[in-house]
Amino acid sequence: MSPTARLVAALAVLATATAVAAMAALFIGSAPVSPRDVLAVLGGRASAAPVDQVVVLSLRLPRIAAALLAGGALAVAGVGFQGLTRNPLAEPSVLGVSSGAAFGVVLAQVFGLRAGPLEILGLVGFAFVGAFVAGTAVYAIAARAGGLPVHTLVLAGVIVGIFFSSAITVLISIVDFDRLGGVVHWLLGNLGPLPPAELGLFVAATALGFWLVLHPSRQLNLLALGEEGALQLGVDAERVKRRIFAGAALLAAAVVAFAGPIGFVGLIVPHALRLALGPDNRVLVPAALLAGGLFLLVADTLARSLIAPAELSVGVITSFCGAPFFVYLLRSRTERIEP
């Protein structure tokens, strides 16, 4: 099957599944709204109670949108980092990029950036710089002549992640805790209903990052031949790497800014897609946008219904799935990846 045919088939299946899951998620939640009332709200009927309208349209719907965006962004960032490092374990949280972005966000909050579109834009900017610095540091630590050894890259990511987590702890300790309200909750990775302006910004950042990764995705395929092999086939390897890195870091930073550091989505989803669709990044990147969203939506729906009326952090769910998966990948794949 040609890559375009595979892409169309994958997108059709994933879009259908995502639509079904999103509809189902509208009916699930801790607030007691009956299915009939949900339908009444969605149908725009006047008989719908104002409370139900708020629950469905201002809480559940924006939260579903946030889950779809965050999951898609994380999965696309995972595909980008994996292609870039030629390493199936590379992913924003494993690489420490999420921790760098989180440090940026906490720092921005210390400087007083809290709410309002402009301030949120500043927050995303701080997150991006944090992600960029962390990613660059990991690369500098792990890079050897001829490539990025799998284990060294993972270790470098862990070390950089620990460093930025400690730096966050320092900030939280020296700054008046009240000013950083909810920061601990946020650090676990939580999806909440975002106000329309923030949702709009999230869409814009995700779209830009997605385009930065998708546009050079054919060149990203050729990078699998090694840098010299790619150069000899006419790929401007440095430019491609810069673009993909910027795109993946932006995606990871946006998720951290709007939902907190949610781990392992960028590991699980691309791997599952690669098994089903093969390693062609031109197919993987668009498919990851939908599949990542679907995965995180399901995880978030579980997070808010498993122990209702209380809620789990969605980051806890993804980590519970992701940690065993990471071990499996580490043990089964590393021998075959050339350093």
Partner: protein, 273 residues
């Protein structure tokens, strides 16, 4: 007729601090005042001991590196003025192996050779698929199209890499140790294939090899490199001289003729204590 490739007094030295350079390259050897031409439809062999500059020469010819001094021309045009993609449509490099990190299929790998012909496209055209199919047929790997490259034998993978280079439809094919990992049968097949391509399609071939006998067998002319300099350039009979080889390689050798092909052969005179 314009030569396919021409080196004019090319100098190159690796900077010692180049962190990005592969390890083998960082041992800072260089090419010094190197001049030669590769003519159309010629098989041009490049031989020399380790660290004589063979790999550097391939990198210069494929524009991975640019010369410090001197000039390299492709089909009469300065290489520096060509984009990477333009170079890749004229020079196709066959590396010794490819990394197998991601499980691409044979067809996907061969299609990568079409990239330089339309770098702006996201997906290959129907014409690209035709070229890839032809290249796979030429290299004898058409049956393997749907196979994953990490599940192939060394000989099969070598032919797949050759198919990818053929899909580039370049006029000059540069082979880096094409028979390094191959057993006798595949070595023989490889030589047969190269001769056929050269005869039937007029493809120019630059063969870089440690294997003096292979180079002598297939090359029209040989270039002997030592420490980055051209020691000899000419017909295999002229280049493969006992005294010159003993000086360059630092061991005793015997140059003879292949009993069947009458091409020069080089045997090591194994030392006894």
């Amino acid at each position: 007729m314009t030569p396919l490739a021409e080196f004019r007094h090319v100098d190159f030295a690796y900077r010692a601090s180049r962190a990005a350079a592969p390890r083998s390259a960082r041992t800072a050897f260089a090419l010094r005042d190197l001049s030669f031409t590769v003519e159309a439809s010629e098989v041009f062999g490049i031989i020399g001991p380790n660290a004589s500059g063979k790999t550097t020469l391939i990198r210069l010819l494929s524009r991975v590196l640019l010369p410090a001094r001197g000039e390299i021309l492709l089909d009469g045009r300065p290489l520096e003025q060509l984009t990477r993609a333009a170079v890749a449509t004229q020079v196709a490099v066959v590396p010794q192996d490819v990394p197998q990190g991601f499980p691409y299929t044979v067809e996907e790998l061969v299609l990568m050779g079409r990239f330089p012909h339309a770098p702006g496209r996201l997906f290959e055209s129907a014409a690209d698929r035709d070229h890839a199919r032809q290249a796979m047929a030429q290299a004898g790997v058409a049956d393997l199209a749907a196979e994953r490259i990490d599940r192939l034998s060394g000989g099969e993978r070598q032919r797949v890499i050759l198919a990818r280079a053929l899909a580039q439809r370049a006029r000059l094919l540069v082979l880096d140790e094409p028979t390094a990992h191959l057993d006798l049968r595949y070595q023989a097949e490889c030589v047969g294939l190269l001769r056929r391509l050269n005869r039937d399609t007029g493809l120019g071939i630059v063969l870089v090899s440690h294997d003096l006998n292979l180079a002598a067998e297939v090359s029209d002319r040989l270039l002997l490199l030592a420490a980055g300099r051209a020691v000899r350039l000419g017909s295999p009979e002229a280049v493969l001289d006992d005294a010159v080889l003993e000086e360059v390689y630092g061991c005793r050798v015997l140059v003879d003729k292949h009993p069947a092909s009458r091409r020069p052969t080089v045997q090591i005179l194994w030392p006894y204590p």
